[in-house]
């Protein structure tokens, strides 16, 4: 097959160059670049006008337009007149359309990479403002809670019931599964080590204390962050996008009381109960390892657990659950209320709610554990 030349040039007068376009111009078939024409112009000084001949042009699509647009821009810069008359009528019209509105020069400003110092500065400012927002949000939430106990509740009781159900009862299956498995794992790991000392039955103490005091609460907290915290952020974020929160504001109904408070109360009330439940499921997990698999007597296991797990362990577990409930619902609601006004912002809000929630849980666990150690409980 003979290679088709799509473009060639001939000088017809002293200041005029004729550009012949021919063949089929199609996207994906590597049509000539605008540079070819520009080099031709450079190599032949004194050109003032450019004419086009398209008699042999068979078929064309956007590739010809891209070529022509580049050529036109370059010719304009060099003050060379282009005689568009020779072009197909469709090309002329589309070119006019494409050049009708001049290119917005400052539209591309976002692409500029900020300098390192710039970034440090903006990040620092953002950190300060987000800390301010966080403190403001916590303060408002606190005021709303106080208002709830002093005066009239600013939300609908049915909402509250719904959130109690959503964050409590509906979380039971996943909490059961996870804490049963965690109890099982603790049991296995523990019993293998304890066996070396012939102290298998102390696995009950290990599983009982670990689950009731720490692990139950932590696992529940992480489940709540992934399940309920994300849901809160997505719900509130979508309401932000739909202008539903604006609609509340214009009615003088405070979103903090009407939307955030029932969610926070619902989760905070349910969290300690879930933690206690997780503890029981964990102990059951340990029992599955100890009794049917390793043949420890069931009564011995239960006696060991009841002796080992004291009231203070239970209270620490419940307290941690309460703290996690506050932290998870706070981060979920905060991210939801801060949400931007687009679909992707809702996704970001949910992600950020989970991350914030889990980080807060781990930090709080560390603080509480250290405090308990210092206080000797």
């Amino acid at each position: 097959m003979i290679e088709q030349t799509l473009i060639n040039f001939s000088r017809i007068t002293a200041d005029k160059l004729l550009v012949r376009l021919s063949g089929t111009w199609q996207i994906g078939e590597d049509p000539p670049h605008a540079e070819a024409l520009l080099e031709q112009i450079k190599s032949e000084p004194g050109i003032q006008r450019i004419a086009f001949d398209t008699q042999n042009l068979k078929d064309w699509d956007s590739s010809l337009l891209i070529f022509m647009l580049k050529v036109m821009n370059q010719l304009k810069e060099r003050d060379i007149i282009a005689e568009k008359e020779g072009l197909p009528e469709g090309v002329q019209r589309l070119l006019d359309l494409a050049t009708a509105v001049p290119e917005q020069k400052d539209a591309g400003q976002k692409e500029e990479l900020p300098s390192f110092l710039d970034k440090v500065g903006t990040d620092a400012l953002r950190f300060v403002s987000s800390t301010g927002e966080l403190i403001g949000f916590v303060g408002e939430a606190w005021l709303a809670t106080v208002k709830l106990f002093v005066g009239k509740a600013g939300f609908r009781p049915s909402d509250m019931a719904l959130f109690l159900q959503q964050s409590g009862a509906e979380a039971l299956p996943i909490v059961s599964l996870i804490s049963l498995l965690v109890g099982l794992i603790l049991g296995f790991v523990g019993i293998i080590q304890l066996k070396m000392f012939g102290a298998e039955m102390y696995v009950a103490n290990l599983v009982g204390i670990a689950m009731v005091r720490e692990m139950g609460a932590i696992m529940t907290g992480i489940i709540m962050a992934g399940r309920t915290g994300a849901a809160f952020a997505a719900q509130l974020g979508t309401m932000q996008v739909n202008e539903e929160i604006d609609a509340l504001n214009t009615l003088g109904i405070k979103p903090m009381e009407f939307l955030v408070l029932p969610r926070m109360l619902g989760l905070t009330l349910m969290a300690p109960l879930l933690c206690m439940y997780a503890g029981i499921m964990g102990i059951l997990g340990g029992w599955i390892v100890a009794v049917p698999i390793y043949g420890i007597d069931s009564t011995t296991y239960i006696n060991q657990v009841t002796q080992a797990v004291g009231l203070n362990d239970l209270f620490i577990g419940l307290f941690m659950g309460l703290v996690f409930g506050v932290l998870v619902s706070l981060s979920g609601c905060l991210r939801g209320m801060q949400c931007g006004r687009s679909a992707s912002a809702v996704g970001d809000a949910a992600t950020s709610a989970v991350v914030t929630g889990i980080v807060a849980i781990i930090v709080a666990t560390a603080i509480i554990t250290i405090l308990c150690d210092v206080l000797g409980i």
Binding site: Q235, N249, L251, I253
Partner: protein, 272 residues
Amino acid sequence: MTETDTNKEAHIKVKDLTMAYGSFVVMRDLNFSVNRGDIFIIMGGSGCGKSTLMKHLIGLNPPAKGRVLYGDMSFWETGSKQREQFMRRFGVLYQSGALWSSMTLAENIALPLEQYTDLGPGQIRELVSLKLALVGLAGFETFYPSEISGGMRKRAGLARAMALDPEILFFDEPSAGLDPVSSKRLDDLILELRDTLGATVVVVTHELASIFTIGNNSVFLDPETRTMIANGDPHKLLEESKDPRVQRFLRRGEVEEASGGEAWLKKSAKPS
């Protein structure tokens, strides 16, 4: 329009208002007033800040500079308690209806009533049915917003905006996303509400048909100069304004720009 001519008391006054998001100025030096009983149109091209201006009027965004006066009261300079009191007299219809998606239509309309009146559940139910009937949605009380069409959501939003019999009704792009017939019906409803409730109506729109059917006062925002470039009855603007930008807008761009701004006089496009 005659009844507003006799009653020229300014209901909303905007003085030297500058609107900004952070350091980005959306509009500056806005000065206009909305009279009691007006149907006031906020118009301008897409993205010029019409909805932002409405948000300033209803108290969602604080002004960067300047004042919004309701009667003699400066909206942003009074205490938050009084501001809230004031906001209760607004009814707002958002672009997408903004119904609370977790509640049925009846609950949506009942919420403002429960918050601000001492009515019993029975009376509230009756009021809710009435408001829904007014917008042609009788019998849809138990539907959730996701179960009805966009046009119905908008009408339900209007029913909610009217729940407390507001003094001022704000509409954000009421005809966006509606077919011509529904949009016309909404326009008729707006006129009806103004006449029967005596409410002042502020409408953000760029639908020419609506502008000329319902509007008797307006402000025109220009995104290039970032300020208002015309103010007054849209019919008068159409006939008298010499500004080519206003003319282009009000005649759907059918003005020959090059011919010195006089060409539009020959084309006497008549408003409906």
